[in-house]
Assembly symmetry: C2
Homo-oligomer: 147 residues x 2
């Protein structure tokens, strides 16, 4: 899916067995455009402007539907903060403790092979890092320079 026209989203959802209602299309479109691992809160805040009757219930049920169909993944990093990611390919996340943003990080698939799961059968690998992001590091440097 390179372009993200409403038409393409409709077709895509249909191909996954999902009835493309307005709300579902808009939520999917939001995830395509905002690859920032948004929370339900974020999606609601933005879309309620376009669809004033939108309820969080619909966002919850829609995201659960997308996850169950395998087109979106649910990510949990910390504090019971649930985020959604339209990129379902194996990759890691970096969460900044200063600004709270979550970035994608590349993980070479070979790394997963190097990890012994001790006789257990792996299905999904999850990896994330907590730290301070590039932008926040820059800001800190500037502040020090100014002082």
């Amino acid at each position: 899916m390179q372009q993200n026209s409403i038409y393409e989203i409709k077709e895509f959802l249909r191909s996954k067995g999902i009835n493309p209602s307005l709300q579902r299309i808009k939520i999917y479109q939001y995830l395509l455009k905002n690859r920032t691992h948004p929370r339900v809160e974020d999606i609601y805040a933005e879309l309620v402007n376009e669809i004033p009757t939108l309820s969080k219930t619909t966002i919850y049920t829609t995201l659960n539907l997308f996850v169950s169909k395998g087109i979106v993944s649910k990510i949990m990093i910390e504090d019971g903060e649930v985020r959604y990611d339209i990129d379902t390919t194996p990759h890691g996340h970096f969460k900044c403790i200063k600004c709270g943003r979550v970035y994608d990080i590349d993980i070479k698939p070979s790394i997963f092979k190097d990890i012994s799961t001790d006789g257990h059968q792996p299905i999904e690998y999850h990896f994330y890092v907590i730290g301070i992001c590039k932008e926040c590091l820059e800001k800190e440097k500037e502040e020090v320079a100014q002082a």
Copy 2:
């Protein structure tokens, strides 16, 4: 801390600046003995037998204290299920989707070095795998054999 006598736990907590109350000692001791990444629920169910007046509030506040002192770590794998781990050294976890148990898995420190965090400054690395554990795989085999 090889042996886990009450005396040693007391000394240990004191050394970390934690006043060793009965509840705190028992909770710490529980974590030492049950290296199964228990939830608040599990700790409560067990300890309420020994301390009938014990409340979950105390478990929550105690665990938060332990985490803030760096002697226990909080792990979140899925579903907003919060677990506590007395092993604060870097390692990964394996969660079985059949039985729900969480196992420790070794992670070679070199793996962390191989991961590019894309210019962000890493502080903590977290790694977990979802799958089916050894025991559940065995059980499945037996069931097939019997059929």
